[in-house]
């Protein structure tokens, strides 16, 4: 298997949260939460708008520091600090934007080179093939439709075959074929490592073997 495709995790992989909580100023972004997930698996994260799904994924990706509690990604005997997680975690969310002045391939090659992947162009070609975007590889980002941009986000998340993939609303803007691709990708990733999907779409909820439901009333209630 190429280095760019999801590789089965050889060492035990576990993602643990202990009393994880986040506040945006006075507003509660994520209520205290604890869980333990082990690979291989697909986990669906559900909850009403504002319940903290995106906040949780950002914390797990190392983009956001929790106000309290901790999240630990353990591969084998090694605990990866948040700063090192970017090398092992793939992340796609609606907020993820790319450089308009660069093409699809140039954006992803930049990401692959910055992550230090051994063969960036092979990794990019494989990721684009997996999400069905190879035909638009030379297009500039503004030339893509909303659905194509979503495929680009998915390709970015899969780049280099990360051990953990975090997908926030992965099916947004996608047509039926795109949603089928998401289902296939989740299935492949769930065999190789860990995938967490934040969604309220019933079709995507079926993709997970486990689920975490955030039960807050939502809309970021003041605590």
């Amino acid at each position: 298997m190429s280095a760019a495709v999801a590789q089965p995790v050889t060492a035990p992989l576990a993602l643990e949260a202990e009393g994880l909580m986040h506040r945006y100023g006075r507003r509660q972004g994520l209520d205290p939460l604890s869980f333990r997930l082990a690979a291989p698996s697909a986990v669906v994260l559900t909850g009403p708008n504002g319940s903290g799904k995106s906040t949780l994924l950002r914390i797990l990706a190392g983009l956001l520091r929790p106000t309290a509690g901790s999240a630990t990604l353990r591969i084998g005997a090694e605990d990866l600090p948040p700063s090192a997680r970017r090398l092992r975690v793939g992340f796609a969310s609606p907020e993820l934007a790319f450089y308009d002045e660069l093409s699809v391939t140039e954006n992803l090659v930049f990401a692959a080179e910055a992550r230090g992947l051994a063969d960036p162009r092979v990794a990019v070609a494989t990721a684009l093939e997996r999400v069905g975007l190879a035909a638009r590889a030379r297009d500039l980002v503004p030339e893509l439709s909303s659905g194509m941009k979503q495929r680009l986000r998915l390709a970015f998340a899969l780049l280099g075959g990360p051990a953990v993939v975090l997908l926030d609303e992965p099916g947004s803007h996608l047509d039926d074929e795109g949603r089928a691709s998401v289902a296939r990708l989740v299935d492949e990733q769930a065999r190789a490592g860990l995938v967490i999907l934040a969604t309220n779409d019933e079709r995507e909820m079926k993709l997970g073997a486990q689920s975490i439901e955030l039960r807050r009333r939502g809309l970021g209630d003041p605590a």
Binding site: L63, R86, F91, F98, L102, A111, E113, R115, L117, D119
Partner: protein, 224 residues
Amino acid sequence: MERKASSSAAAVWAILRKECRSEWRTRYGLNAALLFAVTSLAAVSFAVGPLGDRTDILSALLWVVLFFAALSSLSHAFVREIEGHTLTLLRLVASPTAIALGKLFFNLIFLVVIEAVTVPLFLLLMGGPPPGWSRFLAMLSLGSVALAASCTLVSAIIAQTRGRGALFAGVSFPLLLPVLAAAVKGTRAQWLGGTVGAEASILLAYALAVFGVSLLLYDHLWED
């Protein structure tokens, strides 16, 4: 996931190349900087002509033109990422330190390009005594390094704040004043045939201090 030995160096190099490619395609800062430099030099030249042996005005004018020509780009090194919503992408592929170093090296290259056009034009239009080239280039190099390091740090600090335009001016003024003062003084000294050792030492020490502080700060700058 197979990786190269030094992913930090790879990240800095990738970010530097991305910055150069983006700037080349958009000319976001280059055109504005060169327009400012050429216009201001032409305007001063038409108004007062060659300044001859007024080395005090010559050295101040040179650094004022270089500073303001480069400022529009240097101050926006991180703001562009915020406004283009690409900071999340950057943070997912590289450490804050690697991002900042990539931006710093790009800012240095940007300054060199601006100087390659501005300095010959300045010497042609403004006259003045022939520069002592080694001391003149030493002042230009060290001043540019200190300027780029300071502006990159301030740009990173203010990037995610509201009212960042006003903040940049407020935060950068005390940081950049010693750089400009030493650079102007050293540039004048070389025109007068004096030594520039003291000014060169100040600029080098200042650049190293800012660089050191930057390395300590960058990893904590964007933690929400």
